[in-house]
Every structure is written in structure tokens, then in C-alpha cells.
């Protein structure tokens, strides 16, 4: 069998034959390093398993009486995501044009670097900084999402600006339109559907992010979730999780449908 596999082919060099084994060895070594070095506690399984079962049981019997205030908080979460995305999708436009090779010219590298730098700051860290400024509440979360999302939206904007058809702008140039007119009538109509589709996509991501920003106090359902977990009210944790899953799923499906119609 093994001989038949290579009929008519030169045998593989030794390093190719041993590559999978070598790769496995490296992976195992890294895993050993990770597992042996991790300072953590050992669980007493005789206690942990019944306890986890009890917690799961409580979580699967949600506290339905909490639904009205949960709905309000979820609405707040979605509104935060909406405003954060709106802010980012507007702020990202100049960044996107700056980073696009056919618009920003020699500054496009600078624009791309700027977008990468913005993206590297996690939302949670930004939220902490903004909380210092405006106090805990939804505004800090909105600002955090609004700034962080510029990184991704701007990059996607730049890509779609780079892919435009040059015909309309050249035609306008030949009849004497200035730069602003070229962009307004030749570029914007071409990229607008894609821009809105990217903004919607980011709205999906932001609606997930908005659920966790509350953990540091930046508004939304996360605050209630972390309080419920810390107070070990597991039936309330259950219903909050259910709410998050339902809302995120609805937004995913709805925005996916809308994006398909847009592009």
C-alpha cells in the first residue's frame, strides 16, 4: 500500500518526510510549556461538578420576572451600538479616503498606519479612558466603540475606494470638475452601497461589543450581567444570557439580510 502511493514519483527528501512529525513535536513542546507553567489552582472535581450542575440548573430556570428591566437594558445596549457605529461610520470616511492609494496618494501609507494604530486599542481599554472623562454610563461606551470601529471601517472603506471605476472621475476631470466635485459625484455614488454594508457589518460586531462594555461600567447589559454573576443570582444570569443571545441573533440575521439587499 505505502509503496503504491508514490508510484512514478521521486521519493520525498527526508526533511519533507519528517516535517509532520517535527511539527507535532514542536506543538507538543509548546503545549507542555504552556500547561506546566500556568499558575492556577487545581479543582476538586468532587465539589466542582455538583456545583456546576446546580448552577446550570439554576441558569436553565430563568428569572422571568426580570424580563421588563432586561428589555430596557437590551434596548439601551442596541442603541449604544447604533450610536457607536453611526459615529464611527461618519468619522471613518476621511480616514478611508486618506488611506486609499488612489485618493491619499503618498499619504496613504500614513493613513493605513493610523488605522492600524487605532485598531490595536481594545474597546475595553478605550472605554476605561473615556469613563475617566465623562463618567460611567453609555456615553463612554459609545465613544469607545466609535473610536475603535474607525480602524476596521476605515480599512474596509479604503479598500472599496481603491476598487472604484475610474471612468466617471476622468470624465468629470475632462469637463473641468474640481477635486471636490469629482469625489462628490464620481466616487461617493459608487462606494455608498459598500460603505453602508460595511457599517451594517460593524453594527453586528458592535452590538456584541456593547454587551460586554458594561463590565467596566460603560453602559449596557454588561453591568447587570457582571453584578448578577458576582452576587451569584444564577437564574438572573440565565435570563440575561438568553436576552443577549436573542438580540445578537436577531441583529445578525436582520443585518445579514439587509446587507445582501444592499450590495
Amino acid at each position: 500500500m505505502t509503496a503504491a502511493r508514490n508510484v512514478g514519483l521521486a521519493p520525498l527528501p527526508w526533511w519533507r518526510r519528517w516535517a509532520p512529525g517535527f511539527f507535532t513535536l514542536v506543538v507538543l513542546a509548546v503545549l507542555y510549556w504552556a500547561g506546566a507553567g500556568l499558575k492556577t489552582y487545581t479543582l476538586d472535581w468532587r465539589q466542582t461538578i455538583p456545583q456546576s450542575v446546580r448552577i446550570l440548573d439554576l441558569m436553565f430556570h430563568p428569572d422571568w420576572a426580570y424580563t421588563p428591566s432586561l428589555a430596557l437594558k437590551l434596548l439601551e445596549t442596541v442603541q449604544m451600538a447604533l450610536l457607536g457605529t453611526l459615529l464611527a461610520s461618519v468619522l471613518a470616511v476621511p480616514f478611508g479616503f486618506l488611506a486609499a492609494r488612489n485618493m491619499g496618494k503618498k499619504f496613504s501609507y500614513f493613513g493605513k498606519f493610523l488605522l492600524n494604530a487605532i485598531r490595536a486599542f481594545p474597546e475595553i481599554i478605550l472605554a476605561i479612558i473615556f469613563i475617566k472623562g465623562v463618567g460611567p454610563g453609555p456615553l463612554a461606551g459609545i465613544m469607545a466603540m466609535g473610536i475603535h470601529s474607525i480602524g476596521m471601517i476605515g480599512k474596509l472603506y479604503a479598500e472599496s475606494v481603491e476598487a472604484i471605476d475610474r471612468g466617471p472621475t476622468e470624465a468629470m476631470l475632462s469637463v473641468g470638475a474640481n477635486r471636490i466635485q469629482q469625489i462628490w459625484f464620481g466616487v461617493i455614488p459608487q462606494v455608498l452601497p459598500e460603505f453602508s454594508s460595511y457599517a451594517l457589518y460593524r453594527f453586528e460586531i458592535n452590538s456584541r461589543a456593547a454587551t460586554i462594555l458594561g463590565i467596566v461600567g460603560a453602559g449596557g447589559i454588561g453591568t447587570d450581567l457582571i453584578f448578577a454573576i458576582q452576587q451569584r443570582v444564577w437564574d438572573r444570569v440565565g435570563i440575561i444570557l438568553l436576552g443577549i443571545i436573542v438580540v445578537v441573533t436577531i441583529i445578525d440575521v436582520g443585518s445579514g439580510w439587509l446587507r445582501k439587499k444592499l450590495v
Partner: protein, 315 residues
């Protein structure tokens, strides 16, 4: 009677492009008004000087600056390289009598930061360890489930949809929520972080992998079926060779996401550098917070760079 070709209702609507833009803009303004009124947000909050002052204060203190606010501090804090140098009378007066807030450059900033990073080496490495273990177990667990969630391998609709819906549910819960949940249930530490990352990367890996299993070339599978290979043999020799490079690329991509996530998991008590970040923030030792933020940024950038390069080679 003939109608001119461009006077139908559809063409009329198409010529009224401005109406469409106006409606869209109006809708966006309404969304903004609705959200901002019910969240009680006013743009005025950002024009107030206090907001920028407070944020500027934080950002300055994340860097190499010490805030001098009290008289006691003003009498000791001055000096180019010695913290207990002779106080500068003019500046002491500014703080003690005029109530000014001053920022001084911290002497030996870089050396002290390097020393601090050396001190926090262990939680920093723990972050990587958590991410590696989580990504590995997530990827391992994703293999059987991705086969069950591939339409071309599973005949039974019930199994296919059950697995698919389960994977979707797992993915709707953000990683930080998993971590908070597990840290609450199992107690704070690195273990809930590893499990949370494992669950999160399992969901992501299984979804990506099942999609690439669904797009494989059915030729080898059919050929093997024709000469009587069993199910396991079909998967081992027909599916695995086709998706292995993609599997490795996805696993690496998920590892990158995990490293990113594991830096902040500590905010909910799930181990890694985030725990320290939270502590330093609570005690308002902002210079140390700044050092941790810089390390986080370096990690994120490095992971981004390495994994992009390796994935380019793999696929």
C-alpha cells in the same frame, strides 16, 4: 397609446435619487435623535472642559509624568533625576498657594518601566499560555463537530441542524462573557480563562472549518466510496488532506484572536495580564497601567504581523 420609455413609475423613482438620499439621511438623523434622547446623551458633554481635563490627566499619567497636587508632594517631587532633590520654590508656591496642578517628568522612567515589566513577566507569559491552551483545545474539539456540521458529510438533517444551531449559539456569547461566567462559577484564576477561550475558539474554529469542509472537491470521496472505503477511511484520506492547510491557518487565526482576548480576560478575574491591569487601575498607579497598555499593543501588533505572514505561506 405608446408611452415614452422613461416615464414608468420605476424610472420616475430612479430619477428621484435625491429623494432616496434625503430619506436615508432623515432616517439616520431620527435614529440618532431617538437613541441619544433615550440614553440622555448630549454632545455638550464633550465641549465641557472637565471632560477633556479628566481624560488628558489620565493620558498624561499613563505616560512618564507624575501629578503634583498636594503641598506635601510638591515639597519632595521635584528634581531632574533624583526624586528627593531640593524643591523648586516657585513651583512649590504654585501648588501650595495657588492650588495649581502640575505634571513632572518622572526620573529614570525607562529603567523603572523595564524593571516593572520584569516584575510582571509571569502574568504576561500566563496570558500567552492561556491563549495557547485555549486555542489548542478549541481547535481539537472543533474537528469532530465541524465534520458533523458539514452538509456534504452528514446525511441526517437533524444532526446537521442541531450541531449548527449549537455552534451559532456558542458564537453569539462574547468571550468576555464566557470568562465572567466561568470565573463566577469556578472561582477567579487562569483556569476559567483557559476554558472560556477554549469554548470561544471551539465555536469559531468549528464554523470556519465546517465551511471549508463543505467546499471540498467530492471526487476523492466518491472514488473511495466506489471501491468500498468505510466512513473513517473516507474522512482520513478524502477530507483531511484537502482541509489540513486551511485548518492550520484557521487555528492560527483563532490563536491570534485568543491572544488578543486573553489580555483583557483578567478584567473579569480570568487570569493573565488583565488581572494586574485591573489592580493597577484600581490603585490608580497609572504609570504601571500605561506600561501594561503598551505591552498589550505590542502583543497585538506582533501577533497580527506574525499570523498574517504565516497564513500567507500556508494558503
Amino acid at each position: 397609446m405608446m408611452t415614452p420609455p422613461d416615464s414608468g413609475p420605476k424610472e420616475k423613482l430612479a430619477r428621484m435619487g435625491w429623494l432616496k438620499s434625503a430619506v436615508t439621511i432623515l432616517a439616520l438623523v431620527l435614529v440618532y435623535a431617538w437613541c441619544s434622547s433615550s440614553l440622555r446623551i448630549a454632545p455638550g458633554q464633550f465641549t465641557s472642559g472637565d471632560t477633556w481635563k479628566a481624560m488628558g490627566d489620565l493620558v498624561i499619567r499613563l505616560g512618564p509624568f507624575h501629578r503634583v497636587q498636594t503641598c506635601k508632594d510638591a515639597n519632595t517631587a521635584w528634581g531632574d533625576d533624583d526624586p528627593i532633590a531640593k524643591p523648586d520654590p516657585a513651583k512649590v508656591k504654585a501648588v501650595c498657594e495657588d492650588g495649581k496642578v502640575l505634571y513632572v517628568y518622572v526620573p529614570h522612567y525607562l529603567t523603572s518601566q523595564v524593571e516593572y515589566l520584569n516584575e510582571i513577566k509571569d502574568p504576561l507569559l500566563d496570558t500567552f499560555r492561556m491563549a495557547i491552551l485555549g486555542a489548542f483545545f478549541g481547535a481539537l474539539l472543533a474537528v469532530p463537530f465541524s465534520l458533523l456540521a458539514a452538509r456534504n458529510l452528514v446525511r441526517s438533517k437533524i444532526v446537521y441542524w442541531t450541531v449548527r444551531i449549537m455552534l451559532n449559539l456558542i458564537r453569539t456569547v462574547p468571550d468576555l462573557v464566557w470568562a465572567a461566567l466561568l470565573a463566577g462559577a469556578l472561582g477567579a484564576g487562569a483556569l476559567p480563562g483557559v476554558i472560556a477561550l477554549g469554548i470561544f475558539s471551539f465555536g469559531l474554529n468549528a464554523k470556519l472549518l465546517s465551511e471549508s469542509v463543505e467546499t471540498i472537491d467530492p471526487g476523492p470521496l466518491e472514488a473511495m466510496q466506489a471501491c468500498g472505503a468505510n466512513r473513517f477511511q473516507q474522512i482520513r484520506y478524502g477530507v483531511v488532506p484537502q482541509v489540513l492547510p486551511q485548518f492550520l491557518a484557521y487555528a492560527l487565526y483563532v490563536l491570534e484572536i485568543d491572544v488578543r482576548a486573553s489580555t483583557i480576560l483578567g478584567l473579569v478575574g480570568a487570569g493573565g495580564i488583565g488581572v494586574l491591569f485591573n489592580t493597577e487601575l484600581t490603585y490608580m498607579r497609572y504609570r504601571n497601567v500605561g506600561a501594561i497598555v503598551v505591552v498589550m499593543l505590542v502583543i497585538v501588533w506582533a501577533m497580527d504581523f506574525i499570523s498574517t505572514k504565516v497564513r500567507e505561506r500556508l494558503i
